[in-house]
């Protein structure tokens, strides 16, 4: 029965991974940018939350109210300045600039804070602890909450994109940037909005991760970026719910790996990723292979 527990944990962790991944997916879908600093931004969100909690003493659970808007504004600003400048110079330069940004952020965090791990903790609230089904299955409330938040965010994103005016503009720009300009849309502004959403969701993911586990300057790449990417590839590029599926598959694979051998948890996830890449490179949800 420990296996069932592992699988359930894996499924719920998938929500967290989907939250990591949706910003990455969005930025790629709308502006064809793969933001290599994506994970590091989540870590920044976590550190900012830590600072906010330390200063204002609000419960960790509510820190996102302050942090997410800050990160969203940061996202808009960074997109309109640095990333747009890189985009204007081509795909190669954009990758190099975001990679540079990632290294600078991590080194900066190492330099100005330290290499230690921190955790946001959960504080005193009802969500510490877990509920049990039978004697062998224990589901932490926090994990359940994170999964619920992930689903809510994905739903919100889906509705935003399909029903709202800005969502329509984002989809239009993603389809055809020039045609959108001809309809009066400033695509740079739309890119900024998409980046703001991406930064906001990844900050939320960072806070969630910070509460559930520990984070340090290198968590951004070691854990968040690579897991987000694996989730996207497994699930299938270009599909929000595919990303959730990918996250779930990744989470389950990791937990099963941990059951076999504790040290192999992360590796097990990557092995599944490589298998999907080898056997079904378009991902699990895409309909046909893309060239």
């Amino acid at each position: 029965m420990a296996w069932v527990n592992a699988i359930i944990q894996g499924i719920l962790t998938g929500g967290l991974y989907a939250l990591f991944a949706c910003g990455l997916s969005l930025m790629f879908g709308v502006m064809k940018v793969v933001n290599l600093a994506h994970g590091d931004l989540a870590v920044i969100g976590a550190y900012v939350a830590l600072g906010v909690i330390t200063v204002t003493h609000i419960p960790a659970l509510w820190s996102f109210v302050i942090v997410v808007p800050i990160m969203a504004v940061l996202g808009y600003a960074l997109q309109r300045t640095l990333i747009q400048a890189a985009l204007d110079r081509g795909v190669l330069i954009t990758l190099l600039v975001t990679f540079g940004l990632s290294v600078v952020i991590e080194s900066g965090l190492l330099q100005f804070i330290n290499a230690d791990s921190h955790s946001l903790g959960v504080g005193e609230s009802i969500i510490t602890g877990s509920f049990s089904i039978g004697s062998q299955i224990q589901i932490p409330y926090l994990l359940l909450l994170i999964f619920a938040v992930a689903v809510v965010v994905l739903l919100g994103l889906q509705y935003f994109l399909s029903l709202s005016r800005y969502g329509r503009m984002i989809r239009a720009v993603a389809d055809d940037q020039e045609a959108a300009q001809l309809s009066g849309i400033d695509y740079r502004h739309v890119f900024g909005i998409a980046a703001a959403i991406a930064f906001g969701t990844v900050a939320l993911a960072g806070i969630a991760y910070g509460m559930y586990s520990q984070f340090s300057p290198t968590t951004g790449t070691d854990t968040i970026l690579l897991f987000a990417f694996a989730a996207v590839v497994i699930g299938g590029l270009g599909s929000l719910w595919g990303t959730l599926l990918g996250g779930i598959v990744l989470g389950v694979a990791q937990q099963i790996g941990a059951q076999i051998n504790q040290a192999d948890q992360v590796l097990a996830g990557y092995i599944v990723f490589l298998l999907v890449l080898a056997l079904r490179p378009q991902g699990l949800t895409a309909r046909r292979a893309q060239s």
Partner: protein, 267 residues
């Protein structure tokens, strides 16, 4: 020979849209070489020419998607050569691009809604577009990628119309469409014009252009070879201008003959 020019000038002294000595490059290639034109309100101004003559480049530069190397573009007398394309669109210059360029993952209605995002005030609404294209309302929730070429062209035109432009730029409407469909689309033109629009269009189908236009201009390898009213040009003159043949073939016309064949222009 200058009578048509004064006739136009009497109507309105400031052209709605004017291009002065435009020079545009594609990399090292000079695509447009000192091209000028003037479009007055209410006109249907057609630009014709063979492939590679620079017609679409001209339209794209007017729309703002291409930066000229030299020259000026004036709208209502004001210089807007450096204005961004989206500002031109919200200012009233809206283009229906070559190849339709619809938003493939969006539905018909969503395409129209996007076109109306920053619409100016005016008579055109999405409902009005549904009126002139009768089939559209029933299919409005369909993804545009699934429509036929002619239907896509109608949606593209509708998307431009709902923005309530003052100048409508049509880039190669006939491209890739059956002649019957093309005729049907051009037959809509009077309805569109009745609301006070001005149209600047680029067309490879010369006879179609001559049928709808109040004024035509022919481009060849980046410069103007003919300009005038359809009623004043002969078929031989158009042919000569289109292919760059010697002016001896073009006799006795009232149209403005620019006589610049390949032999006489500076390289």
């Amino acid at each position: 020979m200058s009578e048509p020019a004064t006739e136009r000038a009497d109507n309105d002294s400031t052209p709605l849209l004017e291009v002065r000595d435009l020079i545009v490059h594609h990399g090292q290639l000079r695509a447009l070489d000192r091209v000028s034109l003037r479009v007055f309100p209410g006109e249907v101004y057609a630009i014709i020419g063979a492939n590679g003559a620079g017609k679409s480049t001209l339209l794209r530069t007017i729309a703002g998607l291409h930066r000229p190397t030299d020259g000026a573009i004036l709208y209502d007398g004001k210089d807007m050569t450096k204005v961004r394309p989206e500002r031109r669109a919200t200012g009233g210059i809206v283009m229906v691009p070559e190849g339709r360029r619809l938003f493939g993952s969006l539905t018909v209605e969503e395409n129209l809604k996007v076109g109306a995002t920053y619409a100016r005030k005016g008579p055109w609404t999405i409902e009005r577009v549904y009126e002139i294209f009768a089939w559209m309302k029933d299919r409005r929730t369909q993804r545009t990628a699934q429509l036929s070429g002619g239907e896509q062209q109608s949606v593209a035109i509708g998307r431009a119309l709902v923005a309530n432009p003052r100048v409508l730029l049509l880039d190669e409407l006939s491209l890739g469409l059956a002649p019957v469909i093309v005729q049907r689309i051009y037959a809509m033109l009077p309805q569109i014009l009745s609301t006070g629009l001005t149209v600047l269009l680029v067309e490879q189908d010369v006879s179609q252009a001559l049928r709808v236009a109040s004024h035509i201009q022919c481009l060849l390898e980046g410069h103007t070879t003919l300009e005038g009213r359809p009623s004043e040009v002969t078929a031989e003159q158009v042919e000569a201008a289109y292919f760059g043949l010697s002016p001896a073939a073009a006799e006795g016309s009232e149209a403005l003959w620019h006589g610049s064949t390949p032999s006489s222009r500076a390289s």
